[in-house]
Amino acid sequence: MHIDALSRRLIDRFQHGMPLCAEPYRAMAEELGCSEDEVLACLEQLQAAGGLSRVGPVFEHSRAGASTLVALAVPEARLEQVAARINAFPEVNHNYLREHRYNLWFVLTGPDRAHIDRLLAEIEADTGLVPLDLPMQQAFRIDLGFPLGDIR
């Protein structure tokens, strides 16, 4: 996808933090020296093109609730069906196909660990596949976004 100059500046400047006030897009526009309408149009366009997931908070897993990384070894022939079933859980995010015997990898989030345990049991019952449950034990680096220099 094409990334224009304003998108690049918006991403560069506000990926890691943005003003917290009643009119954040106006404040962002003032910082960049453009209009609020331009900022909103640019964000809408980025979102429509699929490059922007959303604007707002990324929750801290350990404070916001419980989460775990899950892997399933899905037979090739059942992949579409199982992936769709997994996607249907609102608690699932970042569901990826990876090159490995454990080929379906996704993150489960919920208000507490008991909720996660129920979901894991439900997934196993639904799919007949035993999930690998890999909760984070220690974070040495958390995802803080992308080095924009690399975005064309």
Partner: protein, 170 residues
Amino acid sequence: MNACLDEPRALQLRRLLETGLPLAARPYRQLAEQIGCSEQQVLEQVEQWQQVGLFRRVGLVLKHRALGFRANAMLVMDIPDEQVDEVGRRLGQAAGVNLCYQRPRRLPQWPYNLFCMVHGREREQVCQLIEQLLAEHGLSGVPHQLLFSTRAFKQCGGRFAPPPREVAHG
């Protein structure tokens, strides 16, 4: 913790925030209208949450695949337990490593306890970066695997706040 909004409204606000701020001139007023409180209350609540560390960051959340980062590898390693802190700290600071987490092994199916995410444009470039990384840190000999992602079925933010049916009893 929720001095600004009552518990049900605070939860409602969290659920709304998890899906992102409206792209409108007064996003917090829109959220306030949806949950039946004032814009000021919403702003104070969000500020308070930010202060107590509920958010990792607040800003633009990108989708790396659409932005051209199509080669995304998960490097998994089996590091002896007594070395995992030190190795994790070093890899966590290395250029090109986006995430570095320790997770439990699940033997015999899964022997790996240290996970790094490395994103790049080309697969070859990511492979080289990882080889270099392992060599620099004296890890070429440790059992490891590279799991490239070949398709994103879903990419969105976490849903931590309990759904409405579970908050009925507080």
